[in-house]
């Protein structure tokens, strides 16, 4: 019985929260560490996204997709020529110009999108740091 009383008193003593002079400092320190962790995670995810995008883009280019798109573009051009001969087609053609994209245009578009992605990442990184 005495043992149990002592153990209960011991548990109460352990449960008492002592007063630390630097308690507020500790809270700030942990909050800062949390913030750093969060930031690192966001930057890492962003960087991985950019790297993944670049790798994916490179793979698409290497897989001959552009050539295939070019072939499809040629077919679309034929269809487009037929459509633009129609009265409604002429209006559309004047409105949107150009016609179907070519391989070179796709390449330029991909490059521009990659630049925009890198730009967004750099801007974000600069703001965070």
């Amino acid at each position: 019985m005495a043992d149990r009383n002592f153990e209960a008193r011991l548990e109460s003593a352990f449960a008492e929260t002592p007063v630390f002079a630097d308690a507020d400092l500790f809270v700030l320190r942990v909050n800062d560490a949390l913030e750093r962790n969060w930031l690192m995670r966001r930057v890492l995810i962003g960087a991985l996204g950019v790297v993944g995008g670049l790798i994916g883009g490179a793979q698409l280019l290497r897989s001959g997709l552009i050539d295939r798109l070019g072939a499809v573009g040629g077919a679309w051009r034929l269809v487009g020529n037929e459509l633009t001969n129609l009265p409604v087609g002429r209006v559309f053609s004047e409105l949107f110009g150009g016609g179907p994209s070519t391989a070179t245009e796709v390449l330029w578009m991909s490059g521009a999108m990659a630049i925009v992605a890198v730009g967004l990442f750099v801007t974000r990184a600069m703001r965070e740091f």
């Binding site: 011991l10 109460s12 449960a15 630390f20 400092l25 500790f26």
Partner: protein
């Protein structure tokens, strides 16, 4: 802003946990404010030096934030975070000491059980714990400070249950001797200098 701070300050731990699960770091900050000192004190009582205790307490809160969705509120948040901190300390302790609990020879403390230490001077728990061997101190703190059962402590320490029980028993006997003259066992009035 001030009202949200006041709301946080008066909120129950479980409410703060729910907010933290939703990514509210202000709510988690309030949990740190409430339980940071308790975790730091436990780690020091387990035997960590102040700097290590603070580092581990920080790591424990970071880990807790990662796992906060796992806390279902079956027990108190204070107990949950203390168990996380205790396990982190055990991991470090085992790595640094490379000591096998089962092989460590029991030692006899000349001051144990005399009761003289507490007769004339005020001795609190923290002082009394210093009279224990590192392993006894660790086992007693795990069971009475972090709330682990003997079996859980044995599993955490990767030691036989009987060994942990004997270390706890020996530690309790020493503490009794040191604290018997201290009616309150209180250490609350003693301020840590950080």
């Amino acid at each position: 802003m001030a009202s949200s701070l006041a709301a946080r300050a008066s909120a129950h731990d479980m409410d703060l946990v729910v907010l933290s699960v939703g990514g509210n770091r202000g709510a988690f900050g309030e949990l740190i404010r409430r339980h940071g000192s308790g975790v730091r004190a436990l780690l020091r009582r387990m035997g960590a030096d102040p700097a290590t205790a603070d580092d581990l307490a920080q790591d424990a809160f970071l880990a807790a934030f990662e796992q906060i969705a796992d806390f279902r509120g079956e027990g108190a948040f204070a107990g949950w975070i203390k168990r996380i901190a205790a396990r982190l300390y055990i991991r470090r302790w085992r790595r640094e000491t490379r000591m096998s609990l089962s092989l460590e020879a029991p030692e006899e403390d000349m001051n144990a059980g005399s009761g003289e230490a507490g007769a004339n001077a005020r001795i609190d728990l923290d002082e009394a714990l210093k009279g224990l061997s590192p392993v006894e101190r660790l086992c007693v703190s795990l069971c009475y400070g972090a709330g682990l059962s003997h079996a859980e402590a044995a599993a955490a320490l990767n030691a036989p249950l009987g060994t942990v029980k004997s270390h706890v028993k020996r530690g309790l006997d020493k503490l009794k001797g040191a604290l018997v003259a201290e009616p309150s066992l209180s250490s609350q009035e003693r301020a840590y200098n950080g």
